[in-house]
Amino acid sequence: MRETYSVLLPKMNLGELTGRLIVIEGTDGVGRSTQIKLLRPWLEQQGHAVLDTGIKRSQLAGKGIQQAKEGHTLGRVTLSLFYATDFADRLENEIAPALRAGFVVLTDRYIYSLMARAIVRGLDPAWIHNVHSFALKPDAIFYLRIGVDDLIPRVVFSSGFDYWESGMDLYPSEDMYESFRKYQTALLAQFDKMAQEYDFTVIDASPDIHTVFERLRAGISRVLKGEPREPLFARPATESAAPDSDSGEMDGGTQAHRPEAEP
Protein backbone atom coordinates (compact mmCIF):
# COMPACT_ATOMS: atom_id res chain seq x y z
CA MET A 1 0.00 0.00 0.00
CA ARG A 2 1.01 3.59 -0.57
CA GLU A 3 2.87 5.36 2.22
CA THR A 4 3.86 8.88 3.16
CA TYR A 5 7.28 9.92 4.42
CA SER A 6 5.84 10.08 7.94
CA VAL A 7 2.89 12.40 8.56
CA LEU A 8 -0.56 11.57 7.20
CA LEU A 9 -2.76 14.46 6.07
CA PRO A 10 -6.42 14.53 7.13
CA LYS A 11 -8.71 12.76 4.62
CA MET A 12 -5.79 11.20 2.76
CA ASN A 13 -7.00 7.62 2.49
CA LEU A 14 -3.90 5.80 1.30
CA GLY A 15 -5.73 2.60 0.36
CA GLU A 16 -7.65 4.44 -2.36
CA LEU A 17 -4.59 5.79 -4.14
CA THR A 18 -4.25 3.00 -6.66
CA GLY A 19 -2.64 4.87 -9.56
CA ARG A 20 1.09 5.22 -10.13
CA LEU A 21 3.17 8.15 -9.04
CA ILE A 22 6.27 8.70 -11.10
CA VAL A 23 8.69 11.52 -10.40
CA ILE A 24 11.13 13.03 -12.87
CA GLU A 25 13.79 14.91 -10.93
CA GLY A 26 16.85 16.80 -12.03
CA THR A 27 18.38 20.22 -12.00
CA ASP A 28 17.41 23.27 -14.07
CA GLY A 29 17.83 22.81 -17.83
CA VAL A 30 18.52 19.09 -17.73
CA GLY A 31 15.56 18.32 -20.01
CA ARG A 32 12.85 17.14 -17.61
CA SER A 33 9.97 18.88 -19.33
CA THR A 34 11.13 17.77 -22.78
CA GLN A 35 11.09 14.18 -21.58
CA ILE A 36 7.66 14.54 -19.99
CA LYS A 37 6.31 15.91 -23.28
CA LEU A 38 7.52 12.70 -24.94
CA LEU A 39 6.44 10.37 -22.17
CA ARG A 40 2.85 11.52 -21.97
CA PRO A 41 1.75 10.54 -25.51
CA TRP A 42 3.74 7.34 -25.24
CA LEU A 43 1.86 6.37 -22.06
CA GLU A 44 -1.47 7.40 -23.53
CA GLN A 45 -0.88 5.28 -26.61
CA GLN A 46 -0.60 2.33 -24.27
CA GLY A 47 -3.95 3.17 -22.72
CA HIS A 48 -2.83 4.89 -19.52
CA ALA A 49 -4.58 8.03 -18.37
CA VAL A 50 -1.88 10.55 -17.50
CA LEU A 51 -1.76 13.61 -15.29
CA ASP A 52 1.32 15.72 -15.61
CA THR A 53 2.06 18.33 -13.01
CA GLY A 54 4.96 20.36 -11.76
CA ILE A 55 6.17 22.97 -9.34
CA LYS A 56 4.33 26.31 -9.21
CA ARG A 57 1.35 24.95 -11.12
CA SER A 58 -1.08 25.01 -8.20
CA GLN A 59 -4.29 27.01 -8.44
CA LEU A 60 -3.65 28.34 -4.99
CA ALA A 61 -0.05 29.47 -4.80
CA GLY A 62 1.47 29.29 -8.28
CA LYS A 63 0.70 32.86 -9.19
CA GLY A 64 1.71 34.21 -5.80
CA ILE A 65 5.13 32.58 -5.96
CA GLN A 66 5.71 33.94 -9.45
CA GLN A 67 4.86 37.47 -8.36
CA ALA A 68 6.96 37.21 -5.24
CA LYS A 69 9.97 35.93 -7.19
CA GLU A 70 9.76 38.80 -9.64
CA GLY A 71 10.34 41.15 -6.75
CA HIS A 72 13.24 39.05 -5.35
CA THR A 73 12.04 40.02 -1.91
CA LEU A 74 11.14 36.76 -0.23
CA GLY A 75 13.27 35.42 2.59
CA ARG A 76 14.60 31.87 2.45
CA VAL A 77 12.26 30.34 4.98
CA THR A 78 9.32 32.16 3.43
CA LEU A 79 10.11 31.02 -0.10
CA SER A 80 10.49 27.40 1.02
CA LEU A 81 7.16 27.48 2.81
CA PHE A 82 5.47 29.12 -0.17
CA TYR A 83 6.69 26.27 -2.35
CA ALA A 84 5.53 23.75 0.24
CA THR A 85 2.06 25.35 0.12
CA ASP A 86 2.03 25.03 -3.65
CA PHE A 87 3.11 21.41 -3.33
CA ALA A 88 0.47 20.55 -0.72
CA ASP A 89 -2.24 22.13 -2.87
CA ARG A 90 -1.21 20.05 -5.87
CA LEU A 91 -0.83 16.90 -3.80
CA GLU A 92 -4.34 17.15 -2.37
CA ASN A 93 -6.20 18.69 -5.29
CA GLU A 94 -4.46 17.13 -8.30
CA ILE A 95 -2.14 14.26 -7.51
CA ALA A 96 -4.23 12.36 -4.94
CA PRO A 97 -7.51 12.60 -6.93
CA ALA A 98 -5.69 11.34 -10.05
CA LEU A 99 -4.16 8.46 -8.13
CA ARG A 100 -7.59 7.66 -6.72
CA ALA A 101 -8.91 7.48 -10.28
CA GLY A 102 -6.11 5.12 -11.31
CA PHE A 103 -4.06 7.59 -13.35
CA VAL A 104 -0.37 7.54 -14.01
CA VAL A 105 0.86 10.77 -12.46
CA LEU A 106 4.02 12.16 -14.01
CA THR A 107 5.44 14.93 -11.93
CA ASP A 108 8.12 17.33 -13.10
CA ARG A 109 10.12 17.57 -9.85
CA TYR A 110 8.81 16.67 -6.42
CA ILE A 111 9.82 17.43 -2.86
CA TYR A 112 13.47 16.55 -3.58
CA SER A 113 14.11 19.67 -5.66
CA LEU A 114 12.39 21.78 -3.05
CA MET A 115 14.50 20.30 -0.28
CA ALA A 116 17.75 20.55 -2.27
CA ARG A 117 17.19 24.24 -2.97
CA ALA A 118 16.37 24.94 0.67
CA ILE A 119 19.39 23.07 2.01
CA VAL A 120 21.73 24.80 -0.44
CA ARG A 121 20.31 28.09 0.88
CA GLY A 122 21.37 27.16 4.38
CA LEU A 123 18.11 25.93 5.89
CA ASP A 124 18.21 23.12 8.40
CA PRO A 125 17.86 19.76 6.56
CA ALA A 126 15.88 18.22 9.45
CA TRP A 127 13.46 21.13 9.33
CA ILE A 128 12.89 21.03 5.58
CA HIS A 129 12.46 17.25 5.66
CA ASN A 130 9.80 17.59 8.33
CA VAL A 131 7.97 20.25 6.34
CA HIS A 132 7.60 17.83 3.41
CA SER A 133 7.06 14.68 5.43
CA PHE A 134 3.37 14.50 4.45
CA ALA A 135 4.38 13.76 0.82
CA LEU A 136 3.37 10.46 -0.72
CA LYS A 137 6.22 8.10 -1.48
CA PRO A 138 6.39 7.75 -5.26
CA ASP A 139 6.47 4.42 -7.12
CA ALA A 140 9.69 5.55 -8.76
CA ILE A 141 11.95 8.58 -8.88
CA PHE A 142 13.93 9.00 -12.06
CA TYR A 143 16.79 11.38 -11.56
CA LEU A 144 18.16 12.89 -14.75
CA ARG A 145 21.73 13.44 -13.79
CA ILE A 146 24.15 15.74 -15.55
CA GLY A 147 27.49 17.32 -14.71
CA VAL A 148 27.81 21.10 -14.55
CA ASP A 149 30.07 21.13 -17.62
CA ASP A 150 27.44 19.39 -19.72
CA LEU A 151 24.68 21.52 -18.28
CA ILE A 152 26.15 24.93 -19.06
CA PRO A 153 26.04 24.75 -22.88
CA ARG A 154 22.39 23.63 -22.73
CA VAL A 155 21.40 26.55 -20.58
CA VAL A 156 23.39 29.08 -22.58
CA PHE A 157 21.86 27.97 -25.89
CA SER A 158 18.30 27.71 -24.67
CA SER A 159 17.03 30.05 -22.00
CA GLY A 160 20.19 31.77 -20.85
CA PHE A 161 21.07 32.30 -17.21
CA ASP A 162 18.11 33.01 -14.97
CA TYR A 163 18.38 34.95 -11.71
CA TRP A 164 17.05 32.14 -9.49
CA GLU A 165 18.57 29.23 -11.41
CA SER A 166 21.90 30.96 -10.97
CA GLY A 167 21.32 31.26 -7.25
CA MET A 168 21.92 35.01 -7.48
CA ASP A 169 20.09 35.43 -4.18
CA LEU A 170 22.69 33.18 -2.64
CA TYR A 171 25.87 34.09 -4.52
CA PRO A 172 25.35 37.68 -5.56
CA SER A 173 28.03 38.62 -8.02
CA GLU A 174 28.57 40.57 -11.20
CA ASP A 175 29.31 37.31 -12.91
CA MET A 176 26.16 35.28 -13.46
CA TYR A 177 28.16 32.46 -15.02
CA GLU A 178 30.20 32.04 -11.84
CA SER A 179 27.07 32.12 -9.68
CA PHE A 180 25.35 29.59 -11.89
CA ARG A 181 28.31 27.26 -11.67
CA LYS A 182 28.59 27.50 -7.92
CA TYR A 183 24.89 27.17 -7.31
CA GLN A 184 24.31 24.25 -9.66
CA THR A 185 27.36 22.43 -8.30
CA ALA A 186 25.98 22.75 -4.79
CA LEU A 187 22.54 21.58 -5.95
CA LEU A 188 23.99 18.56 -7.76
CA ALA A 189 25.85 17.56 -4.60
CA GLN A 190 22.56 17.65 -2.68
CA PHE A 191 20.81 15.59 -5.35
CA ASP A 192 23.57 12.99 -5.26
CA LYS A 193 23.16 12.73 -1.51
CA MET A 194 19.42 12.33 -1.82
CA ALA A 195 19.79 9.78 -4.60
CA GLN A 196 20.95 7.30 -2.01
CA GLU A 197 18.67 8.37 0.78
CA TYR A 198 15.52 8.21 -1.35
CA ASP A 199 16.47 5.44 -3.72
CA PHE A 200 16.52 7.43 -6.96
CA THR A 201 16.91 5.65 -10.27
CA VAL A 202 19.76 7.61 -11.80
CA ILE A 203 19.66 8.22 -15.53
CA ASP A 204 22.59 9.79 -17.28
CA ALA A 205 21.13 12.85 -18.97
CA SER A 206 24.19 13.82 -21.01
CA PRO A 207 23.32 11.79 -24.17
CA ASP A 208 20.83 13.00 -26.78
CA ILE A 209 17.10 13.38 -26.05
CA HIS A 210 16.12 10.13 -27.70
CA THR A 211 18.60 7.99 -25.79
CA VAL A 212 17.45 9.46 -22.48
CA PHE A 213 13.84 8.92 -23.53
CA GLU A 214 14.50 5.23 -24.27
CA ARG A 215 16.03 4.74 -20.87
CA LEU A 216 13.17 6.47 -19.11
CA ARG A 217 10.65 4.41 -21.07
CA ALA A 218 12.35 1.18 -20.07
CA GLY A 219 12.36 2.21 -16.41
CA ILE A 220 8.74 3.34 -16.44
CA SER A 221 7.59 0.18 -18.25
CA ARG A 222 9.00 -1.82 -15.43
CA VAL A 223 7.21 0.24 -12.81
CA LEU A 224 3.89 -0.03 -14.64
CA LYS A 225 4.19 -3.77 -15.09
CA GLY A 226 4.77 -3.99 -11.39
CA GLU A 227 8.00 -5.85 -12.02
CA PRO A 228 10.25 -6.37 -9.05
CA ARG A 229 12.57 -3.50 -8.37
CA GLU A 230 15.61 -5.65 -8.99
CA PRO A 231 17.92 -5.15 -10.64
CA LEU A 232 17.06 -1.53 -11.33
CA PHE A 233 16.25 -0.58 -7.78
CA ALA A 234 18.08 -3.26 -5.85
CA ARG A 235 19.87 -2.44 -2.67
CA PRO A 236 23.54 -3.41 -2.73
CA ALA A 237 23.10 -6.40 -0.42
CA THR A 238 20.52 -8.15 -2.59
CA GLU A 239 21.89 -7.05 -5.92
CA SER A 240 23.24 -9.66 -8.30
CA ALA A 241 26.36 -8.81 -10.21
CA ALA A 242 25.16 -10.47 -13.40
CA PRO A 243 23.19 -8.20 -15.70
CA ASP A 244 19.54 -9.03 -16.17
CA SER A 245 18.44 -10.36 -19.56
CA ASP A 246 16.81 -7.09 -20.62
CA SER A 247 19.26 -4.77 -18.99
CA GLY A 248 20.71 -3.73 -22.33
CA GLU A 249 18.21 -0.93 -22.42
CA MET A 250 18.76 -0.07 -18.83
CA ASP A 251 22.36 0.97 -18.82
CA GLY A 252 21.47 4.46 -17.75
CA GLY A 253 19.35 3.25 -14.91
CA THR A 254 22.12 2.52 -12.50
CA GLN A 255 22.02 2.84 -8.77
CA ALA A 256 23.20 6.08 -7.33
CA HIS A 257 26.14 4.53 -5.53
CA ARG A 258 27.36 2.60 -8.57
CA PRO A 259 29.58 4.21 -11.13
CA GLU A 260 27.54 5.22 -14.14
CA ALA A 261 27.48 2.55 -16.82
CA GLU A 262 28.28 4.08 -20.16
CA PRO A 263 26.57 2.41 -23.10
Binding site: V7, L8, L9, P10, K11, Q59, L60, A61, K63, G64, Q67, A68, G71, T73, L74, G75, R76, V77, T78, L81, F82, A84, T85, A88, D89, L91, E92, N93, G122, L123, D124, W127, N130, V131, S133, F134
Partner: protein, 227 residues
Protein backbone atom coordinates in the same frame (compact mmCIF):
# COMPACT_ATOMS: atom_id res chain seq x y z
CA UNK B 1 19.27 27.72 9.42
CA UNK B 2 19.56 29.52 12.67
CA UNK B 3 17.09 28.40 15.25
CA UNK B 4 16.61 31.47 17.31
CA UNK B 5 14.80 29.94 20.26
CA UNK B 6 15.56 32.16 23.19
CA UNK B 7 16.95 35.11 21.31
CA UNK B 8 19.72 37.39 22.49
CA UNK B 9 18.70 40.40 20.49
CA UNK B 10 18.37 43.72 22.31
CA UNK B 11 14.64 43.99 21.48
CA UNK B 12 11.74 42.42 23.35
CA UNK B 13 8.82 40.44 22.02
CA UNK B 14 5.43 40.34 23.70
CA UNK B 15 2.56 38.34 22.27
CA UNK B 16 -1.11 37.89 23.15
CA UNK B 17 -3.06 34.71 22.57
CA UNK B 18 -6.56 33.44 23.28
CA UNK B 19 -9.78 32.47 21.53
CA UNK B 20 -11.86 35.03 19.63
CA UNK B 21 -13.69 37.21 22.12
CA UNK B 22 -11.11 36.85 24.87
CA UNK B 23 -10.33 40.56 24.69
CA UNK B 24 -6.65 40.08 23.84
CA UNK B 25 -6.55 42.70 21.07
CA UNK B 26 -7.99 45.34 23.37
CA UNK B 27 -5.37 44.53 25.98
CA UNK B 28 -2.55 44.69 23.46
CA UNK B 29 -3.79 48.05 22.17
CA UNK B 30 -3.76 49.42 25.73
CA UNK B 31 -0.27 48.05 26.31
CA UNK B 32 0.88 49.65 23.06
CA UNK B 33 -0.41 53.06 24.16
CA UNK B 34 1.28 52.79 27.50
CA UNK B 35 4.65 51.68 26.12
CA UNK B 36 4.63 54.55 23.67
CA UNK B 37 3.87 57.04 26.42
CA UNK B 38 6.76 55.54 28.40
CA UNK B 39 9.04 56.37 25.50
CA UNK B 40 9.77 52.92 24.11
CA UNK B 41 10.17 52.23 20.41
CA UNK B 42 7.13 50.00 19.94
CA UNK B 43 6.04 48.21 16.80
CA UNK B 44 2.82 46.28 16.35
CA UNK B 45 2.79 43.22 14.09
CA UNK B 46 -0.48 41.58 13.17
CA UNK B 47 -1.15 37.94 12.41
CA UNK B 48 -1.76 37.33 8.73
CA UNK B 49 -0.64 40.68 7.41
CA UNK B 50 2.24 40.13 5.03
CA UNK B 51 1.44 41.80 1.70
CA UNK B 52 3.26 39.19 -0.38
CA UNK B 53 1.28 36.24 0.81
CA UNK B 54 -1.97 38.04 1.49
CA UNK B 55 -3.18 37.70 -2.09
CA UNK B 56 -2.77 33.93 -2.06
CA UNK B 57 -4.45 33.52 1.32
CA UNK B 58 -7.34 35.64 0.14
CA UNK B 59 -7.73 33.59 -3.02
CA UNK B 60 -7.88 30.36 -1.03
CA UNK B 61 -10.31 31.72 1.51
CA UNK B 62 -12.58 33.26 -1.09
CA UNK B 63 -12.80 30.13 -3.19
CA UNK B 64 -12.84 27.96 -0.04
CA UNK B 65 -10.24 25.66 -1.53
CA UNK B 66 -7.95 25.61 1.50
CA UNK B 67 -7.41 22.22 3.12
CA UNK B 68 -6.03 21.79 6.64
CA UNK B 69 -2.57 21.35 5.09
CA UNK B 70 -2.64 24.37 2.81
CA UNK B 71 -4.33 26.46 5.49
CA UNK B 72 -1.49 25.60 7.80
CA UNK B 73 1.28 26.13 5.26
CA UNK B 74 0.00 29.42 3.85
CA UNK B 75 -0.21 30.84 7.35
CA UNK B 76 3.28 29.57 8.12
CA UNK B 77 4.50 31.23 4.90
CA UNK B 78 2.93 34.49 5.93
CA UNK B 79 4.38 34.22 9.40
CA UNK B 80 7.83 33.44 8.00
CA UNK B 81 7.71 36.55 5.83
CA UNK B 82 6.87 38.66 8.86
CA UNK B 83 9.54 36.93 10.91
CA UNK B 84 12.27 37.44 8.31
CA UNK B 85 11.35 40.93 7.18
CA UNK B 86 9.73 42.48 10.18
CA UNK B 87 10.05 40.88 13.61
CA UNK B 88 13.71 39.79 13.45
CA UNK B 89 15.16 43.04 12.13
CA UNK B 90 13.10 44.97 14.70
CA UNK B 91 14.35 42.84 17.57
CA UNK B 92 17.89 43.26 16.33
CA UNK B 93 17.35 47.00 16.25
CA UNK B 94 16.20 46.95 19.87
CA UNK B 95 12.48 47.58 19.39
CA UNK B 96 9.66 46.34 21.58
CA UNK B 97 7.59 44.18 19.24
CA UNK B 98 3.96 43.40 19.97
CA UNK B 99 2.17 40.55 18.22
CA UNK B 100 -1.56 39.94 18.20
CA UNK B 101 -1.48 36.15 17.89
CA UNK B 102 1.70 34.17 17.39
CA UNK B 103 2.71 30.56 16.71
CA UNK B 104 0.36 29.26 19.42
CA UNK B 105 -2.62 30.33 17.32
CA UNK B 106 -1.32 28.14 14.52
CA UNK B 107 -0.64 25.25 16.89
CA UNK B 108 -4.21 25.38 18.20
CA UNK B 109 -6.01 25.86 14.88
CA UNK B 110 -3.95 23.45 12.81
CA UNK B 111 -4.19 20.64 15.34
CA UNK B 112 -7.96 21.11 15.62
CA UNK B 113 -8.06 20.87 11.82
CA UNK B 114 -6.37 17.48 12.07
CA UNK B 115 -2.73 18.32 11.37
CA UNK B 116 -0.11 16.36 13.26
CA UNK B 117 0.74 18.05 16.57
CA UNK B 118 4.48 17.46 16.35
CA UNK B 119 4.66 18.39 12.67
CA UNK B 120 3.12 21.82 13.30
CA UNK B 121 5.49 22.56 16.18
CA UNK B 122 8.50 21.62 14.07
CA UNK B 123 7.15 23.68 11.17
CA UNK B 124 7.46 26.86 13.26
CA UNK B 125 10.79 26.24 14.86
CA UNK B 126 12.31 29.18 12.97
CA UNK B 127 10.26 31.47 15.23
CA UNK B 128 11.77 33.52 18.03
CA UNK B 129 10.65 32.65 21.54
CA UNK B 130 8.63 35.55 22.96
CA UNK B 131 9.87 37.47 25.99
CA UNK B 132 6.40 36.81 27.40
CA UNK B 133 3.31 35.19 25.86
CA UNK B 134 0.06 36.27 27.50
CA UNK B 135 -2.82 33.85 27.30
CA UNK B 136 -6.23 35.43 27.90
CA UNK B 137 -8.21 32.68 29.50
CA UNK B 138 -11.95 32.93 29.16
CA UNK B 139 -14.84 30.45 29.44
CA UNK B 140 -16.25 29.57 26.03
CA UNK B 141 -19.74 30.92 26.80
CA UNK B 142 -18.41 34.32 27.82
CA UNK B 143 -16.36 34.63 24.63
CA UNK B 144 -19.25 33.49 22.46
CA UNK B 145 -21.54 36.08 23.95
CA UNK B 146 -19.02 38.85 23.33
CA UNK B 147 -18.43 37.78 19.75
CA UNK B 148 -21.94 37.10 18.59
CA UNK B 149 -23.22 40.36 20.05
CA UNK B 150 -20.47 42.35 18.47
CA UNK B 151 -20.53 41.25 14.85
CA UNK B 152 -22.95 40.48 12.08
CA UNK B 153 -21.70 37.00 11.33
CA UNK B 154 -18.68 34.72 11.42
CA UNK B 155 -16.62 33.94 8.35
CA UNK B 156 -16.31 30.47 6.83
CA UNK B 157 -12.84 29.54 8.11
CA UNK B 158 -13.25 31.47 11.36
CA UNK B 159 -16.22 29.27 12.18
CA UNK B 160 -14.29 26.14 11.20
CA UNK B 161 -16.94 25.44 8.55
CA UNK B 162 -14.33 23.58 6.49
CA UNK B 163 -14.35 20.87 9.15
CA UNK B 164 -18.02 20.00 8.67
CA UNK B 165 -18.72 20.24 12.40
CA UNK B 166 -22.22 21.64 11.91
CA UNK B 167 -24.18 23.14 9.05
CA UNK B 168 -25.12 26.13 11.15
CA UNK B 169 -22.21 28.61 11.19
CA UNK B 170 -22.93 29.73 14.73
CA UNK B 171 -23.03 26.18 16.09
CA UNK B 172 -19.94 25.25 14.09
CA UNK B 173 -18.14 28.31 15.47
CA UNK B 174 -19.10 27.26 18.98
CA UNK B 175 -17.75 23.70 18.60
CA UNK B 176 -14.63 24.91 16.79
CA UNK B 177 -13.73 27.54 19.42
CA UNK B 178 -14.33 24.98 22.15
CA UNK B 179 -11.76 22.66 20.58
CA UNK B 180 -9.31 25.53 20.18
CA UNK B 181 -9.78 26.41 23.82
CA UNK B 182 -8.81 22.86 24.79
CA UNK B 183 -5.63 23.16 22.72
CA UNK B 184 -4.74 26.46 24.40
CA UNK B 185 -5.28 24.95 27.83
CA UNK B 186 -2.84 22.15 27.05
CA UNK B 187 -0.23 24.65 25.85
CA UNK B 188 -0.07 26.69 29.06
CA UNK B 189 2.40 24.31 30.67
CA UNK B 190 4.06 23.21 27.43
CA UNK B 191 5.11 26.74 26.47
CA UNK B 192 5.04 28.48 29.80
CA UNK B 193 2.26 30.88 28.79
CA UNK B 194 1.45 33.71 31.19
CA UNK B 195 -2.23 33.26 31.98
CA UNK B 196 -4.47 36.28 32.47
CA UNK B 197 -8.02 35.85 33.74
CA UNK B 198 -9.97 37.48 30.92
CA UNK B 199 -13.17 37.71 32.93
CA UNK B 200 -11.62 40.36 35.21
CA UNK B 201 -12.27 44.05 34.58
CA UNK B 202 -10.26 45.37 31.65
CA UNK B 203 -8.28 47.76 33.88
CA UNK B 204 -7.24 44.98 36.20
CA UNK B 205 -6.03 42.74 33.37
CA UNK B 206 -4.08 45.66 31.93
CA UNK B 207 -2.45 46.41 35.29
CA UNK B 208 -1.24 42.80 35.55
CA UNK B 209 0.10 42.89 32.04
CA UNK B 210 1.98 46.16 32.53
CA UNK B 211 3.57 44.90 35.70
CA UNK B 212 4.99 41.83 33.96
CA UNK B 213 6.11 43.75 30.89
CA UNK B 214 7.76 46.42 33.03
CA UNK B 215 9.75 43.79 34.93
CA UNK B 216 11.01 42.27 31.68
CA UNK B 217 11.98 45.66 30.27
CA UNK B 218 13.94 46.82 33.32
CA UNK B 219 15.71 43.48 33.36
CA UNK B 220 16.71 44.12 29.77
CA UNK B 221 18.25 47.49 30.59
CA UNK B 222 20.26 46.02 33.40
CA UNK B 223 21.43 43.21 31.16
CA UNK B 224 22.64 45.64 28.57
CA UNK B 225 24.76 47.50 31.11
CA UNK B 226 26.30 44.41 32.66
CA UNK B 227 26.21 41.42 30.34
Amino acid sequence: MKRYGEHRFPGKLFVVEGIDGSGKSTQLMLLHQWLQSEGYGVVFSEWNSSPLVRETTRRGKKKQTLTPATFSLIHATDFADRMEHNILPLLKAGAVVLCDRYIYTAFARDVVRGMDRKWVRELYNFAVKPTAAFYFRVPLEVAMKRILEGRSGVKFYEAGMDLGLDEDPEKSFHIFQGKILEEYESMIAEFDLTTVDATLPIEEQQAQMRQIVKAKLTQAKRLRVAP
